[in-house]
């Protein structure tokens, strides 16, 4: 006899049948279709949320993400993401369809964890020595979606990166898909759009 039998409305916590750190069952055709749809035509003025407190909430989250990446606190960074997440860096300026084309990066959770693992082996020569970065996040705009628990956030970024022979700047804009989970907002998808995504890039080995 356990607790469950005493409380008829007790629902045991949902155990994921698939751990996205180990297997990749959530990247399906439906997932891809929704991804492309969610990231098309979402920055519409009529969907923009003007409430300063709400914009500030998401601005703070983006700034925290930037700080954690600059500090290479990658476990804490990844904890800002929902379990079934995507880090997507398109190779085409309009985003494109990741089913039909390679992206600069298209990482599910497991591949993000692979990326972090590789950077920590000490043998990733493209990051030995490591880049020093400072990220500037600005132009934060929050957009409503069909659901109160999902927000799309647009921001611009400038990453100052010093490595070996000089400092360079990576420039672009992000689309973050935030999902409300209990009290907090988690990043379900981050789409990173470099302005030169379709050009030959030198050493694109940092997490943007």
């Amino acid at each position: 006899m356990g607790f469950a039998s005493l409380n008829p409305s007790y629902m045991p916590p949902m155990q994921p049948t698939h751990d996205p750190s180990l297997t990749s069952y959530y990247i399906t055709d439906a997932f891809y279709r929704e991804l492309v749809e969610n990231f098309s035509d979402w920055q519409r003025d009529e969907l923009a949320i003007g409430d300063p407190a709400e914009r500030d909430r998401f601005r703070a989250l983006l700034e925290r993400e930037a700080r954690l990446l600059d500090q290479l606190r990658l476990d804490e960074w990844l904890a800002m993401y929902s379990p079934e997440c995507v880090y997507w860096v398109p190779a085409t300026p309009a985003g494109g369809d990741p089913r039909r084309e390679v992206a600069i990066s298209f990482d599910d959770r497991r591949r993000i964890e692979d990326r972090i693992f590789r950077l920590r082996t000490g043998y990733a020569w493209s990051q030995a020595p490591k880049s020093r970065t400072v990220r500037m996040i600005s132009n934060v705009e929050v957009f409503a979606t069909g659901r109160e628990t999902i927000r799309m956030v647009r921001s611009n970024f400038l990453i100052g990166e010093f490595r070996v022979d000089g400092t360079r700047f990576l420039s672009g804009w992000c689309g973050h898909r935030f999902v409300q989970s209990e009290a907090s907002w988690k990043i379900q998808v981050r789409q990173v759009n470099l302005i030169d995504c379709d050009q030959n890039l030198r050493n694109p080995s940092i997490i943007l």
């Binding site: 591949r111 692979d114 590789r118 990733a124 030959n200």
Partner: protein
């Protein structure tokens, strides 16, 4: 009309007499100058990237009449197109009038190119069709010299479009020679023997282009340069056999081999390392987004046949290297593009399976959704480390007095390197025979005096 080229710029750029080529390129080593000297680089733009067949684009990038892509032949901007009659051409992207580029886009479709500067317009055959206010000119513009210059020879082998400015170059088929066999096999594992180019992982490094070609068949570097990749790919595996794990242990005793086929081309065949069965390639793929879902989905629909379908999403374990600038490896078409003596673009085009005949029973979209993800792996997690090492070579070579770059692995060991009656050379996987052979061909070309021409429509 063919114009013979011996223009001032080419004459100045030709390698100056003081170079002793036999000193610079020896049996076991090459001089650092071949990677660092701007005069040698300038001469390469004629003697290599002009005088031999240079890969420009794939026919799937320009499928319809009037389609074009812009790219470079050496440093020359070119428009590679299928003209209004379907003929493949490589036009110099350069108005005959005052030299500005005609086309400012990466790709598109155009029957006519109109110059943004003075409005001269050309058919996509290269022929001048109109100039504004022609009555201000004494000439009648009927002379060929006012038509766009273009490569005199443009040929395609099974979709791969090459061009040369050398009227004396052998036909493309002869130039490719025995490397055609591996190219055929690479294509023929796909339905219809074809693939379609899709978008690319585009990279660049601050180093000479030959550093990439030196690496293109290098088996010696894998477990060192790509240590982080191998560890990453195997971290969740039951058996540590993912990716290029077969380079661990005793790679020279493994069944894989390298083969030099002539004219600078060479082939690394790693297929013998992998179980020859349906699903053999899939079994050694590292983790990729969607793989478990798609494998189960295809298994439900196709049963045992799913395994051979999944092999099409997997990397083909070969490196097919076509001198000077093309490499087919995994499912990628990799193109090396020289920018400066110490700067090179490397573009890793992804390819998609095309299945118009339905041989895959409707699975082509799933295969490609997986194949795009598998193709991202090496550029993200492997190539970047090689390019960092190439950049550091260019830095290390600034030591002027430390002259030699060694390529002697496998040399002088009796019985190790085998040559057949056709001059095809075979050696173990970590050997540098392919480097020694291609650089000998490079030396021969650099010592030659090619007479390049451009063509203009009559």
């Amino acid at each position: 009309m063919l114009e013979k080229l011996d223009p001032p710029s080419a004459r100045l750029a030709h390698a100056p007499a003081p170079y002793d080529w036999d000193e610079l390129v020896q049996e076991d080593r090459v001089h650092r100058l071949i990677y660092t000297d701007p005069a040698i680089f300038a001469a390469e733009m004629t003697n290599i990237f002009g005088a031999v067949w240079v890969y420009l684009a794939h026919e799937s990038q320009i499928p319809q009449h009037d389609d074009y892509v812009t790219t470079r032949l050496g440093l020359r901007p070119v428009i590679v197109l299928r003209d209004s009659q379907g003929k493949l051409r490589a036009l110099f992207n350069r108005c005959a009038h005052r030299g500005t580029t005609l086309c400012r886009k990466d790709r598109g479709s155009a029957r006519i190119f109109t110059c943004p500067y003075h409005g001269w317009s050309y058919l996509n055959t290269g022929k001048l069709r109109a100039v504004p206010w022609p009555d201000g000119y004494a000439c009648d513009f009927k002379e060929a010299k006012f038509n766009v210059a273009q490569a005199p020879r443009v040929e395609s082998y099974r979709g791969f479009i090459f061009a040369t400015l050398n009227p004396d170059a052998p036909p493309l088929l002869d130039y490719l020679g025995a490397i055609r066999g591996p190219i055929d096999e690479w294509l023929d594992r796909h339905p219809g023997g074809r693939i379609a180019v899709c978008e690319a992982n585009r990279l660049k490094y601050k180093g000479n282009w030959k550093l990439a070609y030196d690496n293109s068949g290098d088996g010696y570097h894998v477990v060192f340069s790509h240590r982080s990749l191998l560890e990453m790919e195997n971290r969740l595996a039951d058996e540590a056999n993912k990716g290029m794990s077969f380079y661990r242990g005793s790679p020279d005793q493994a069944p894989m081999y390298m083969r030099y086929t002539g004219n600078g081309h060479h082939f690394k065949d790693k297929r013998p390392n992998v179980e020859k069965r349906a699903g053999g390639l899939w079994a050694i793929e590292g983790p990729h987004p969607g793989m478990e879902h798609y494998a189960e989905e295809l298994g439900r629909r196709f049963g045992a046949k799913a395994q051979e379908i999944l092999d099409l999403a997997s990397s083909e374990p070969v490196n097919i290297n076509v001198f000077p600038n093309l490499s087919l490896l995994g499912n990628h078409i990799q193109v090396f593009e020289p920018v400066a003596v110490d700067e090179t673009n490397v573009t890793w085009y992804g390819t998609a399976v095309v299945d118009e005949e339905g041989a895959l029973g409707g699975a082509v979209e799933e295969v490609n959704a997986l194949r795009m993800r598998t193709q991202e792996s090496f550029p993200n997690f492997g190539e970047v480390d090689d390019l960092a090492n190439f950049e550091e070579i260019q830095r290390g070579l600034a030591c002027l007095e430390d002259e030699w770059v060694y390529m002697h692995r496998g040399l002088g060991i009796p019985g190790r390197v085998r040559s057949d009656e056709n001059g095809i050379i075979t050696a173990p996987a970590t050997d540098e025979a392919f480097m020694r052979e291609y650089i000998k061909e490079w030396k021969r070309l650099m010592q030659a005096t090619p007479h390049l021409v451009v063509q203009r429509e009559p």
